[in-house]
């Protein structure tokens, strides 16, 4: 007991050391004292760069509300954690704090590994079992080399985010050597500290939404590194001959031979850490390998240790993690310093919100890079909690407080789809459970379903007065949107504008440059809409998708996707490879050029990465999971799947891990109801 307390104390001390020391060191003792930042002292900080640590600056500027702390990715090692520059923009002082890849890799990993070390090692682990779990040095070196190679394969990204990047192969390239040894340390530490806890890791899964794990100045994520290590460790000929592996290998040939090397740079922005930033063969191969090992590592852990999964602990951790994301989101909003600390130590892809005001008038993403991904996480937390309340018929005061905070967070994310699907799934579940025979259950479900749909349409129309109820308009809305995003509208094009306004799509199809300007998918929608083969009173594909997208408020985003998506036959069938956006964003010119607007549907992401093959595998896999499962986990899977139809969450590592986890548990617990006593 005393030894355990001592260990905990040591770990807490190291944790505090990791947080405070690197950001408290000053470069020069001869530098003048820090000053309160105001217009008159800007020049002081601009000339004294790299002299004052973050905490020194903070101490002098407590209560200075005009200070906005930002990370300076492009910092040298000796300026790490120090004030590297000050700008005066819109009545605010932007203060840049130096971060550097060589330090980030080790410091951030150390913080996360230390946090995981607080999880108790399961008692049944004996020494021989522990030994078996150690990864061989060869595999550790291979994994470290693999991740180091990213600096070469995505050199554009790393040159943009880091100073002194050197991609030459030489024994004096200390930048690369430092990164390589940092990866070796991370992998060895992870193997020694995380792997003994691997069997109970799933119970703490919700915390991946709090500790997101993306390295500053880097395009990789800590969880990818660790699960890749597990993936490489358990890689064998047996894994390679698995039917999914064979399919994946077959797809690799299509991706590699169909790659159109344009060497473009893709700004990964908020999906940093889980997207390819370059259109080169090296980076494609890198992401193909990483994705394979990452998914295999996840599947191995989620399948092998499913007997250790305790849903009650999981629910508790969902509540704690959900509450903490709301609270840290608030703290980051209140204080710019804490916003930076959140960004750095929780490994956020993007800084948390700095204001309580919603973005674009409706969503508040708070702690997360994506309001949708956060909303879905809150939805899962609430669904699981309500399930336990229903089953156990008890709820504690702390749980009620957590539920309140999470509900508040969910409302702030304004994720209507989560709220609606929560109501639908809960009703579906209750009607299934409260009725004794199958026949009455079906009646109940139909009744509840009809009432719900009616209520939802009324509510939706009431809250979205801008949405037209004119079927004729709704059925071509998506087509109109995709046409308006096309290059025809780069300049004011009155002729085409008139054709669109008058729904004269036939004449658009006769335009000389029709096949060049419009993407294949826009042409597909258009030609389907005007096809002579359409049957009266039976909606065509374009109308169905268009009405659907209007009802779930996705027309503008999907319209943009359609205007851009211009695949060749191989791409349509097999995609461009995992996490490859470059071709999609750069191959077809459209009117809209700025900013990263993602497809806003995980199905569309699957189409981009794995083509129609991926969608078929996903649809049939989901149907198989749902129909062959009589346990209650399928409700979680159904909930998440419904939401993924209209969100990009699978592009975020945390959400990706969660959906794989839920799907695997659906497969593991086919008949058992959640293990509640």
């Amino acid at each position: 007991m005393v030894k355990q307390n001592k260990n905990t104390l040591i770990r807490i001390s190291i944790l505090l050391f990791v947080i405070f020391i690197p950001f408290s060191l000053n470069n020069s003792s001869e530098a003048p004292d820090t000053k309160y930042l105001e217009i008159s002292s800007i020049s002081f900080y601009q000339t004294q760069t790299c002299n004052y640590s973050l905490f020194d600056f903070w101490k002098e500027n407590i209560g200075n509300e005009r200070v906005v702390i930002k990370a300076d990715f492009f910092s040298s090692i000796n300026c790490f954690g120090k004030v590297n520059g000050v700008d005066y923009i819109d009545d605010s002082f932007y203060v840049y704090i130096g971060t550097n890849l060589n330090i980030n890799l080790l410091l951030q990993s150390l913080f996360w590994i230390l946090l995981i070390s607080f999880i108790k090692i399961p008692k049944e682990e004996d020494f021989s079992e522990k030994l078996k779990k150690k990864t061989s040095p060869v595999r550790i070196i291979f994994t470290a080399l693999l991740f180091t190679s990213q600096i070469f394969t995505e050199s554009k990204f790393y040159n943009l985010y880091n100073k002194n990047v050197d991609t030459s192969i030489s024994s004096e390239n200390f930048f690369i050597l430092g990164v390589f040894v940092a990866y070796l340390i991370i992998l060895k530490l992870s193997d020694d500290i995380i792997t003994p806890r691997i069997s109970v890791l799933m119970n703490y899964l919700p915390f991946i939404f709090l500790v997101i794990g993306t390295y500053s100045s880097s395009n990789i994520n800590f969880y990818i590194i660790y699960f890749c290590l597990i993936g490489t460790k358990h890689f064998s000929t047996k894994t390679l001959t698995n039917k999914y592996s064979i399919l994946y290998i077959a797809l690799i040939f299509f991706w590699l031979f169909n790659q159109n090397l344009s060497n473009n740079y893709f700004d990964v922005d908020k999906i940093r850490g889980f997207a390819n930033s370059e259109n080169s063969q090296g980076s494609l191969i890198f992401w193909i390998i990483i994705f394979y090992f990452f998914v295999n590592g996840l599947l191995h852990v989620f399948k092998k240790y499913c007997h250790q999964l305790d849903f009650e602990v999981l629910k508790k951790n969902f509540l704690i993690s959900g509450t903490l994301t709301v609270l840290f989101g608030f703290l980051g909003t209140i204080s710019s310093y804490l916003n930076f600390i959140n960004f750095y130590f929780f490994g956020q892809n993007k800084n948390g919100m700095s204001t309580f005001q919603s973005v674009a008038g409706n969503t508040w993403r708070g702690f997360s890079a994506s309001a949708e991904a956060l909303g879905e996480f809150y939805g899962i937390a609430l669904l699981l909690t309500f399930y336990f309340i229903f089953k156990l018929k008890k709820v504690t005061f702390l749980e009620i407080t957590s539920i309140g905070l999470i509900l508040y967070g969910l409302i702030k994310t304004n994720d209507a789809a989560v709220l609606i699907s929560l109501v639908v799934i809960s009703t579906f579940f209750l009607s299934n459970k409260l009725t004794k025979t199958k026949k009455t259950a079906v009646k109940f479900i139909i009744f509840f379903g009809l009432v719900l749909v009616f209520l939802l349409i009324i509510t939706y129309s009431f809250f979205n007065p801008g949405v037209s109820k004119d079927y004729d308009f709704l059925s071509q809305n998506l087509l109109i949107e995709s046409l308006r995003n096309s290059y025809y509208f780069e300049d004011e094009n009155l002729f085409v504008n008139n054709l669109v306004d008058n729904s004269n799509y036939k004449d658009i199809s006769y335009l000389e440059d029709y096949e060049v300007v419009l993407s294949k998918s826009t042409r597909f929608l258009l030609e389907n809409y005007i096809s002579d083969g359409n049957i009266s009173y039976l909606p065509n594909i374009t109308s169905v998708v268009s009405v659907g997208s209007s009802l779930i408020n996705r027309t503008d985003k999907w319209g943009l996707f359609v205007s851009r998506y211009n695949p060749n036959d191989i791409e349509f069938l097999f995609g461009s490879g995992p996490m490859q956006f470059n071709k999609f964003y750069n191959s077809h010119t459209i009117k809209f050029k700025d900013g990263l607007i993602l497809p806003h549907s995980s199905i569309l992401n699957i189409l981009l990465f794995f083509g129609l093959t991926g969608i078929i595998v996903w649809v049939f896999g989901s149907i198989k999971l749902m129909t062959k499962n009589t346990s209650d986990i399928k409700y979680l899977f159904l909930f998440y799947s419904l939401n993924l139809l209209k969100s990009d969450s699978t592009l975020y590592v945390s959400s990706f891990i969660l959906i794989i986890f839920i799907a695997t548990q659906c497969q593991n617990h086919k008949s058992k109801i959640l293990n509640i006593n």
Binding site: S76, I77, N78, N102, I103, L106, N164, S168, S170, F174, F175, L177, G178, V181, A182, L184, I185, K188, L189
Partner: protein
């Protein structure tokens, strides 16, 4: 100059195909013509003097004469971090033996 080509290419970039390696030495009449598309480089000598070079040939000649792209007296932090990480890594690997050794000696 040919012997220093690795160092030169490391600092100045790869040698353009259309440029001949010639040693200008201290010829005061020679004028280096700025090279199109060559990104300006800053070189330093041991005394801390600075020169901006605008062509590969100019850069090569200065590097050949002992100039470098590192500010004299500055620390190679990447090298230091690499060494520190190596010590941490091997120290961690040998921690068991290290503890045993310390226990024995004390």
């Amino acid at each position: 100059m040919e012997q220093n080509i690795t160092t030169i290419e490391k600092i100045c970039g790869a040698k353009p195909a259309d440029v001949d390696l010639i040693i200008v030495g201290n010829d005061p009449n020679f004028v280096f013509v700025p090279q199109e598309n060559y990104i300006l480089k800053v070189l330093y000598d041991l005394d801390g003097n600075i020169i901006n070079v605008t062509s590969w040939l100019e850069c090569a000649n200065y590097v050949n004469g002992g100039w470098t792209d590192l500010i004299p007296g500055t620390v190679n932090w990447e090298k230091n971090i690499f060494i520190a990480y190596l010590i941490i890594f091997f120290g961690y690997l040998a921690k068991g033996r290290l503890i045993k050794f310390l226990k024995k000696t004390w």
